[in-house]
């Protein structure tokens, strides 16, 4: 253990002495920085005037001395911990004080040319040095405490807390502070009247001709969407598990498609079908002689689009739950003379309660954060997500209003979390007992089956129609007007010149950037998400609840807010990331992490804890246990986390719009630009290619992770 500390101290010292401390304009592997005054190492900078960098080198040196000369292990660990924390604190402090333009405060302390010249953001040297000190601190904690901590566990906690702190709290604080901003300062008293204004919470639509506030609109839409998707998802799940419906495979595909569809596409297809000039509208109007209306613009259109988009999520949550209801409980109910309806009503349905609550919560939050559908279809029905966006980019840019609306949105999502916790209470819903169940799930009674078919099948049919339209739209000249066949959209987007081997299509750049970034972000997301899940399920530590909550936070904040807050936070020293691909990767990792966490928690809860304990009592440390026992058994969860984060990185829009740069443009941002420009054909052709790409990637992932999983699942089953 002493060695671990020494190794990390050496790494930290190396980072200080041999790597450029600050961000460089050249690559890390370009040796120019050795001679370049601006990008010199921490050691060199500290000696040539930037004395405030010295603690970064002194801290490891002092800690090394402590390792060598202090014998008592606990005492040694405590002193080392203090030194490491002090070092980290001083590094952070100097970074916050001295920015590009020189010192922000304490000018009397930081005098001289070097200080006034300022410094760019931290680079490789600073990063490595800080990371090393962090690990030195965590390893020391594990040695100085009551033996609670295994170094690996404490280090993982430390790393995740640091990452969440830097990449979730730090930027979010930047924007939330704006809510209290008034001309020339900050005010708490101004905040409350603005927050509780009728524009946000007004109930005018209930009592008169005026409309309701945006938060009320969002709330209403969210509740409706949550309820609707849960109902539809349940119908699908029941059809899958409790009926002998024939086209289950086709249904399965239909339930995956909306997840991998880039935003806007569903909204556009709905307009072309149900808009005033839409195909269906024309047909119905001709048939019945009805007036063609614009009903699809506004609440109903958005609601419709959200049902199409988010039902699959509810389905994925509920299918596991519906399958998980132990057949023996249903059989028990039936032997007690309950009929199939009573069994469903009084046994199965209540047992599905956690699943229903989860599905509703996800639908609700997705609806609140949804940006694409309200933008295309919302018309006069304002919701928080679009309103926040236009408060930032609209003709009257008002970041304070955006921040206030963001707080309103956070209030809604957090209340939903609370409500769910309260509703579920402390009842036990465990239905998987570990004993092999050989019974069969009760099939549905005819009335219920009909009801399920009646709700789910029209949805499926509509999805099918929407996707046929999308494929159709990418192959016709002018969707809606000129339906002659053409490949022009594909050629324009993805054309290439065979003779010269050059890619001439306009979409190639963003396509490759998107794939690269998604491919880097997905494994990182899975790693961070599953490590967090491991800590939450398997480890006990102080502040675990707060830790869990903070990891869920980024999921509840709308993408637009995250996007803008990232620019505000990471455009300046100490951490300068704007314009790089890193910022895109990071935003995806921390936005999608909660899903990895949830999936990991679910999967890990199914692994008997005695497996870890066996490994540990056999002398393996936590790291070896995770690597050799837990990871190999978590195939499905890893697959899910990888797939989800990959798909999300490709399809998310709102967070990305602000973060894309000339060098790193993303597919969705490109598509949005085309949609704004009215080039639906190109946008849809691009979307179709993305959908195919994602399907291929999912299949590939399943081949890589999935086949191993199957073999293992068989073994696991027989073990029991």
């Amino acid at each position: 253990m002493k060695n671990t500390v020494l190794i990390w101290l050496a790494i930290g010292l190396a980072g200080f002495a041999f790597l450029p401390w600050h961000m460089t304009d050249d690559g890390l592997f370009d040796p120019v920085w050795i001679n370049d005054g601006n990008a010199s190492t921490g050691l060199f900078s500290a000696l040539s005037g930037q004395w405030w960098l010295a603690p970064a080198g002194l801290a490891p040196l002092m800690a090394i001395a402590v390792q060598l000369f202090v014998q008592a292990p606990v005492r040694r660990a405590r002193i080392t911990l203090a030194i490491a924390i002090a070092g980290l604190f001083l590094i952070a402090l100097q970074g916050m004080i001295i920015v590009r333009a020189g010192p922000r405060i304490l000018e009397w302390l930081f005098t001289g040319e070097a200080a006034l010249a300022g410094q760019p953001g931290m680079g490789a040297g600073a990063g490595l040095c800080a990371l090393a000190l962090l690990f030195v601190a965590t390893v020391s904690i594990s040695q100085s405490g009551k033996g609670q901590g295994d170094a690996f566990v404490v280090s993982t906690i430390g790393l995740i807390v640091a990452l969440v702190g830097i990449f979730v709290f730090f930027p979010v604080m930047h924007i939330l502070v704006r809510a209290f901003e008034v001309d020339g300062g900050y005010s708490l008293t101004e905040f409350f009247p603005r927050f509780f204004s009728a524009d946000i919470w007004g109930l005018g639509c209930l009592f008169g001709p005026r409309s309701c506030g945006v938060a009320i609109n969002s709330l209403f839409l969210g509740v409706m969407t949550g309820a609707g998707t849960t109902l539809l998802g349940l119908s699908f799940a029941l059809i899958f598990t409790r009926t002998d419906f024939r086209a289950k495979k086709l249904l399965r595909v239909l339930t995956v498609l909306p997840i991998i569809t880039p935003p806007f596409v569903i909204g556009l297809a709905l307009i072309l079908l149900f808009g005033r000039a839409g195909t269906v509208t024309e047909f119905v109007a001709d048939l019945f002689g009805w007036e063609k209306t614009r009903w699809v613009y506004g609440f109903w259109g958005v609601y419709f689009a959200q049902l199409l988009s988010f039902t699959p999520i509810a389905f994925l949550v509920l299918i596991g739950v519906v399958q998980g209801v132990s057949p023996s409980m249903e059989e028990a109910s039936q032997t007690l003379d309950a009929d199939r309806w009573q069994t469903f009503r009084y046994v199965s349905l209540p047992l599905m309660r956690p699943g229903l609550a989860n599905a509703f919560l996800l639908g609700f939050i997705e609806s609140l954060a949804d940006f694409g559908n309200p933008l295309v279809l919302g018309s006069g029905y304002s919701v928080l997500s679009t309103e926040i966006f236009f408060s930032i980019v609209g003709a009257v840019a008002d970041p304070a209003k955006a921040a206030i609306l963001a707080i309103a949105l956070l209030t809604l999502t957090l209340s939903a979390f609370m409500a769910q916790r309260i509703w579920l209470g402390k009842k036990s819903y465990a239905t998987i007992t570990g004993k092999a169940d050989s019974g069969q799930n009760a099939s549905l009674n005819p009335a219920l089956r009909t009801l399920c078919y009646a709700t789910a099948l029209p949805w499926a049919a509509l999805t099918l129609v929407v996707y046929s339209m999308i494929i159709f739209g990418s192959f016709v000249k002018l969707w809606g007007y000129d339906h002659s066949f053409t490949l022009a959209h594909f050629i324009r987007a993805f054309g290439f010149d065979l003779s010269s081997g050059r890619l001439t299509g306009v979409a190639w750049d963003s396509y490759f950037t998107t794939l690269t970034i998604a491919s880097i972000a997905a494994p990182l997301t899975a790693l961070v998400g599953l490590s967090t899940a491991y800590l939450l399920v398997r480890q006990k530590f102080i502040g675990k609840d707060a830790f869990e909550f903070s990891t869920m936070l980024s999921f509840a904040i709308p993408g637009t807010v995250i996007g803008v807050s990232y620019i505000m936070a990471f455009n300046f020293p100490p951490i300068e990331l704007t314009g790089t691909s890193i910022i895109l990767i990071i935003v995806f990792v921390f936005r999608n992490m909660p899903v990895g966490v949830r999936g990991g928690i679910a999967a890990m809860s199914q692994l008997d804890k005695s497996l870890d304990e066996a490994s540990i009592t056999l002398g393996a440390n936590s790291f070896a246990t995770v690597r050799r026992v837990i990871l190999p058994l978590m195939g499905p969860a890893i697959l899910a986390a990888l797939t989800y984060s990959f798909v999300r990185a490709i399809t998310s829009v709102s967070a990305v719009i602000f973060l894309v740069s000339a060098k790193h443009n993303m597919a969705t941002s490109f598509i949005v630009g085309r949609v704004e420009n009215g080039e639906f054909g190109l946008a849809i052709a691009y979307s179709a290619v993305l959908i195919v790409t994602m399907l291929a990637a999912i299949l590939l992932l399943q081949l890589m992770v999935g086949t191993r999983r199957l073999r293992r699942a068989d073994r696991v089953q027989q073990t029991a």
């Binding site: 680079g123 409309s211 304002s382 306009v506 620019i567 630009g673 704004e676």
Partner: protein, 340 residues
């Protein structure tokens, strides 16, 4: 733990790659195709400069330029309606490029004068009315000729226009009404038109697109957008209102603190050249070019035949006027959260 370390090192290695000296970072707020054309044309003339271009709307760009103030990652902002360019100039977010503007038309020079040379006009587009010929003939509605026609009940539920709170296009319309009719009268007229409006959209170009597809009968917006839609084959007819109309001036600005100011200035000079501006119609952009020697596409709205008002960019671009007019619009014309 070693593994975690490796990943972090890899991450840092990635982060260390930055911007090369001969790279020019351009944000383009015009149509994507025009942006692409400009980049390839510029790179052809300046083979040593690698142009990195991203398309963002003016609102997004202004938000980003503000957020990045002091340490910008953008060198040049090209295209997009002039107001945000003027705001950026007023807030000191852009710098004068010192490029020669003598060949430019009056309105373009005017913009440079207002902004002390920080924003220079590159194209103009007049505000107009578009209608879907199919819809109006089907419903036997007489097409509009003037702004005043839009107040007529025959257009009930047929007009679509953007919300000036979110759209620069709609703000131009609001300011045009004020300059045509006076502030009080303008609000009365806008409210009267508002009775026929089916939706105040967020985006300024959305109403014309909706009119093109037949989702609404009549739209208010910039004529060059309408021309483009009509050229694509939509049954869209364009009207220059009889009372006269306002216009926007698209601009180009160099960002204050640009990392590559030399290339940025070269870009501005390039963008103002007659031969470069003449190429816009190749990609279906029908704005009127600012260089007096540039060729105007036959499809472009002929500014000479349109009765243009003497749009006062200095007054109506200022934050004070803007705030006052929008507050009045909210109170007297539009429900801040309309729901119909």
């Amino acid at each position: 733990m070693k593994r975690l370390g490796m990943i972090s090192v890899a991450t840092l290695a990635l982060s260390a790659s930055g911007v090369l000296a001969d790279e020019l970072s351009v944000v383009c707020s015009a149509e994507q195709d025009w942006c692409d054309l400009m980049v390839s044309a510029f790179e052809a003339e300046h083979p040593d400069t690698d142009v990195l271009m991203v398309r963002k709307s003016t609102g997004e760009t202004l938000a980003q330029v503000r957020a990045e103030a002091g340490n910008p990652k953008i060198d040049v902002w090209w295209g997009g309606t002039g107001d945000p360019h003027l705001i950026a100039a007023e807030e000191g977010l852009t710098q004068a490029s010192g490029v020669d503007t003598s060949e430019l038309l009056g309105w373009a020079q005017n913009m440079a004068d207002i902004s002390n040379g920080k924003a220079i006009g590159i194209y103009a587009g007049a505000l107009g009315i578009a209608y879907n010929a199919d819809i109006l003939s089907e419903k036997s509605i007489e097409p509009p000729q003037c702004w005043a026609d839009l107040e007529d009940p025959r257009f009930e539920g047929e007009i679509q226009v953007a919300n000036p709170n979110s759209s620069g296009t709609a703000y131009t319309e609001l300011a045009t009404f004020v300059q045509l009719f006076g502030e009080d009268e303008a609000m009365v007229k806008l409210a009267a038109v508002g009775k026929n409006v089916n939706s105040y959209t967020k985006s300024g170009s959305a109403p014309s697109k909706a009119a093109a597809r037949g989702e609404t009968g009549v739209s208010i917006g910039f004529m060059h957008d309408m021309v483009k839609l009509a050229a694509q084959g939509f049954p869209l007819k364009i009207v220059a209102p009889c009372e006269g109309t306002g216009y926007e001036v698209g601009a180009v600005s160099v960002i204050e603190g640009a990392r590559n100011p030399e290339a940025a200035k070269a870009w501005v000079a390039f963008a103002l050249r007659a031969d470069v501006q003449s190429r816009a119609p190749e990609v279906g952009s029908f704005q009127v070019p600012s260089n007096s020697n540039a060729k105007v596409a036959p499809e472009s709205p002929d500014l000479a035949s349109i009765k243009l008002i003497d749009y006062d960019f200095a007054t109506y671009g200022s934050s004070d006027t803007r705030g006052r007019l929008l507050a009045r619009w909210d109170a007297e014309v539009g429900d801040p959260n309309p729901q119909k």
